[in-house]
């Protein structure tokens, strides 16, 4: 499909982005395949490939289709084996994920996967190899359960062919459908008509088959055929976003699958259940175009399905209320819950196919769904995909709006005027802009889960490569962060984790010698602290050798002179200097001295900071502190001489005028201020920033107590100007990082206020005092 119209293009793009999401979401599960009792995980992965296979078939992307087909076969075998898989197999599955990701992103550009044929052949060979490996050791005990590989493949191929041909119709429809107004973002009326007619046809076939099967229950060809028919129906419905129908078809498919695998015997009950399902789908289809289908019917149907299954397996009714929680689409803020029933029927678990707009709910909730679930057509509409560039634009505009709002309401022209009505409207305007800002902000917030999941994979790969045993402990992945910030944090995090494995965690012999556990532990945590998010990477490895760093830094000419006075913190900061690397040998993982400086640069770009703590021999902790939002904060404006500064309001605890006797001065000239039971160092902003204040007399200005981490200081300024929402702007790359300043903001009068970075200001003041 080199020449495609816009709708098809959009559909392909949606397919690509959903498929990529699904790969990302499910990748972490691969790791669990090496565990005992992994059925559930195997099923999840199976579903990924299965869905991809179906959709790629629909889009005539046969390269993806073939690869996913092979992968599905592999997973199917694993599913039946239900035993832990070797690292080798897991690596292969990972490589399939990578391959598909690569392929999909290329599809995103070229809209076709044809150019990847050759690579796909290699991939398929690798997967086949894996299939052999998985199969052979256990062939004798397994071949009772399922057909031999070639037969199996043949059967599947046949299935896929049929699937393709049934999809070919859809494909034609696509090409034909000229316009796209109405029903859904991409489902045109015409497309829907085509779907309906093909669905009716499929249902008719299935119905006929079932009636024959009732009298001839062992006709396995017919069973397979029925399975395929329902399978196609499920695929089409899923594609059309009709999740209810898909749901029912899925259940039917599961039953038929069990029948096909000789786990269930066809009898009258089963046939009647399936027939009533067909009826229910039909009803739904009829209801589709003119009116919305009743959702109550769904719960009834699903309940029936359960009953049937329970009835046919009276001894193993064990109905697991297993809740699999899938974060399928991280881009959407709102998630749609659709019903999904998960049941375990021994020995083989059923296939439940996920489409990327679903989230599972417990079966017991189904009763409520009649009221709760929205009709299918609107279901697909509940979350929409929006290009991030659009959101960014919106965000910028909101930023501008806030700036202008403050400029208008604080306009110097209004000074001294008595304007009650204006003030009332201005207050309302202010309220609305704030709300708008919050909403806009929340659109971009998403949990760190995806990022952390990627790190799981990274740690696995790197530790295998380095031949080190590492456990990654993750917590706080539900912490939400601005999407753009998450993207920026990814790289630094990769570097830090690589470093932790490469330089941190010691080789096995060394660990054992030191009496440490065989497995190194790296913990990756995230949490909120004030208006910051902390991402903490902690390892129990070798720790940082202060002397080694100092030596290296001297060699590199980064520092000179007496280094005894440097605190550990200062020394550890040296590793972020460009061109600094202590690794004796350069590995392909890390050690070329690029990396840590990138970490600091990227984090500073986000107005964040990196702290390193380390105990030699016991491990290191890297803490990334990142402001919650990049763009906007509540600020207190203060003035010193002609300059105005903004303090993050969250860091300000109180302010007051000094009275006599509150200040003492040490012999070094350090001023301290007594406030209730605390003694706080006084920090003269004019001194630190080298500016001329109105008055040097502490009693004439104002004291503002600010805190950062666990430190409190009394900041001396001429006056407090007011409070304002600050749209944070960078100081320009040309100026670079300025100590004590995070950025600047445009003030109501068009002037510029510098935004103070409290933590680094305190640091700066400590240095000034020492000198």
């Amino acid at each position: 499909m080199s020449q495609v119209d816009k709708e098809t293009r959009d559909m392909i793009m949606q397919f690509v982005s959903e498929a990529l999401d699904s790969l990302d979401t499910n990748e972490p599960i691969v790791e669990y395949l090496k565990e005992e009792d992994n059925t559930e995980h195997v099923n999840s992965i199976f579903r990924v490939f299965h869905t991809l296979k179906g959709l790629s078939g629909f889009f005539e992307m046969f390269v993806i289709n073939r690869v996913t087909h092979e992968a599905e076969t592999l997973l199917d075998i694993m599913r039946k084996q239900n035993k832990p898989q070797s690292e080798e197999i897991i690596s292969i599955i990972y490589s399939v994920f990578d391959f598909l990701r690569d392929l999909l992103s290329r599809v995103g550009e070229n809209l076709t996967d044809k150019d990847a044929k050759a690579e796909a052949e290699d991939m398929i060979l690798i997967i086949r190899d894996a299939i052999n490996k998985v199969q052979n050791p256990s062939l004798s005990e397994e071949d009772f359960f399922f057909p031999k590989e070639d037969e199996f493949a043949q059967q599947e191929n046949q299935m896929i062919d049929e699937y393709k041909s049934s999809e070919a119709n859809m494909e034609e429809m696509l090409a034909e459908s000229p316009s796209n107004e109405g029903l859904d973002s991409f489902v045109s009326n015409e497309l829907m008509d085509q779907y309906l007619s093909s669905a009716y046809e499929l249902l008719d076939t299935a119905e006929n088959n079932l009636l024959i099967l009732e009298n001839d229950p062992n006709n396995y060809d017919l069973i397979s055929n029925t399975f395929r028919v329902i399978h196609s129906l499920k695929g089409n419905s899923g594609f059309m976003g009709l999740s209810e129908i898909e749901e029912i078809a899925m259940e039917m498919e599961s039953i038929l699958d069990s029948v096909r695998n000789k786990e269930l015997q066809i009898d009258t009950t089963i046939v009647s259940v399936l027939l009533s399902n067909i009826e229910s789908i039909r009803n739904r289809l009829t209801a589709l175009s003119p009116e919305k289908p009743s959702t109550k019917a769904l719960s009834e149907t699903l309940a029936k399905v359960q009953d049937a299954e329970n009835a046919s397996k009276p001894t193993e009714i064990e109905q697991q209320e297993d809740e699999i929680s899938f974060e399928l689409d991280v881009q959407e803020e709102e998630k749609v819950d659709t019903p999904e029933i998960k049941q375990e029927i021994q020995p083989a678990e059923k296939i439940i196919t996920h489409t990327p707009s679903q989230k599972s709910v417990e079966p017991k909730k189904i009763e409520d769904l009649g009221q709760k679930t929205a009709p299918p057509a609107s279901m697909a509409k509940k979350d929409i995909r929006v290009e991030t560039s659009k959101i960014d634009k919106l965000f910028d505009l909101v930023g501008e709006l806030i700036t202008i709002e403050t400029m208008v309401t604080n306009s110097p022209d209004l000074q001294g005027l008595e304007l009650p009505n204006f003030m009332k409207s201005a207050n309302m305007l202010n309220k609305i802009t704030r709300e708008l800002q919050e909403v806009t902000m929340s659109v971009r917030m998403m949990p760190l889960e995806n990022l952390f999941n990627k790190m799981k994979r990274l740690v696995r790969d790197v530790s295998l490569k380095m031949n080190k045993k590492v456990n990654l402990e993750i917590s706080g992945q539900e912490t939400e962060m601005d999407k753009n910030v998450i993207d920026e944090v990814a790289d630094p995090l990769v570097h830090i984790l690589r470093n932790a494995i490469d330089h941190g965690i010691e080789p096995l012999e060394e660990r054992l010698k030191k009496g440490k556990p065989e497995y190194g532990t790296i913990s990756l945590k995230a949490r909120y602290e004030g208006n910051e998010i902390l991402i903490i990477v902690k390892d129990d490895g070798a720790g940082i050798n202060r002397e080694k760093i100092l030596k290296k830094a001297e060699e590199r000419g980064i520092i000179s002179g007496n280094t005894d006075k440097m605190t550990d913190k200062e020394v550890f900061q040296l590793i972020f200097e460009p061109g600094f690397s202590t690794a004796e040998k350069v590995t392909d993982i890390s050690g070329r001295g690029v990396g840590m400086d990138v970490v600091r640069k990227n984090i500073e770009k986000l107005h964040g900071s990196v702290d390193v703590e380390s105990k030699y021999g016991e491990g290191s902790t890297f803490t990334l502190r990142i402001p919650l939002t990049l763009a906007i904060m509540d600020a207190m404006l203060i003035r010193v001489g002609k300059s105005r500064y903004a303090l993050p309001l969250l860091a300000v605890t109180e302010s007051f005028r000094l009275s006599k006797g509150m200040i003492s001065k040490t012999m070094d000239g350090l001023e301290v201020c007594k406030l209730r039971d605390d003694v706080l160092p006084v920090l003269r902003l004019h001194e630190i920033f080298g500016i001329e204040p109105d008055s040097y007399d502490l009693e004439k200005g104002i004291m503002i107590i600010i805190e950062s981490k666990d430190k409190q200081v009394a900041l001396f300024a001429d006056e407090i100007v007011g409070q304002q929402q600050a749209v944070i702007k960078g100081l320009s790359d040309y100026i670079g990082k300025v100590q004590g300043i995070t950025g600047c903001m445009i003030l109501g009068d068009g002037g510029i206020g510098l935004i103070i970075d409290i933590e680094s200001l305190i640091e700066l003041s400590e240095k000034t005092v020492l000198v």
């Binding site: 790359d733 100026i735 002037g751």
Partner: protein, 168 residues
């Protein structure tokens, strides 16, 4: 001060048949002290009168601070200070030339903007080969226009070259 008519002239250059060719060999000349300096017009995005500059603490001394130009923040460099010349009070001839170099928008404070000139490569002599004053490293060449000399600056070096002792 440069008035909008002068700006228009710069604009107009761009509307001629071939933009690239028009910018070729065109230089913006400006005055600092008694000397005329020039750099390639292609870097120039705008020329404005002197603005209220917000000083930023603890930055390189030749960066005077930042300005807000229609909501965009630009750092401004004092070319006098960069040349180690004594600073003079700003007057109504003082201009800020906004340039775009290495994707950074930067303002340059100059005593006065003169004109846009065409200086062909053959009338540019190499910079004087002396070691007198480290600031000659900013010079790209000496342009001869009539009987006058325009010192052509290497704007990259002017803005981005850092002295070794800067990293302390």
């Amino acid at each position: 001060m440069i008035q909008s008519d002068d700006l228009y002239e710069i604009d107009e250059l761009g509307t001629e048949e071939d933009f690239e060719n028009t910018l070729q060999d065109r230089y913006l000349t400006f005055r600092i002290g008694g000397e005329q300096y020039a750099f390639e017009i292609e870097y120039v995005t705008e020329i404005i009168g002197i603005q209220n500059i917000t000083p930023v603490p603890n930055i390189k001394p030749f960066i005077k601070g930042i300005i807000n130009l229609r909501g965009i923040i630009y750092p401004v460099v004092c070319v006098r200070k960069r040349f180690n010349l004594p600073e003079i009070p700003y007057n109504d001839r003082t201009c800020i030339i906004i340039v775009n170099v290495n994707q950074s928008g930067i303002g340059l404070i100059v005593d006065e903007v003169a004109e846009v000139l065409k200086i062909l490569p053959e009338s540019i002599s190499p910079p004087p080969q002396t070691n007198k004053g480290s600031h000659s490293k900013f010079i790209k060449g000496m342009g001869r226009v009539g009987d006058k000399i325009k010192i052509i600056l290497d704007i990259q070096k002017l803005l981005f070259e850092t002295e070794e002792h800067n990293y302390e």
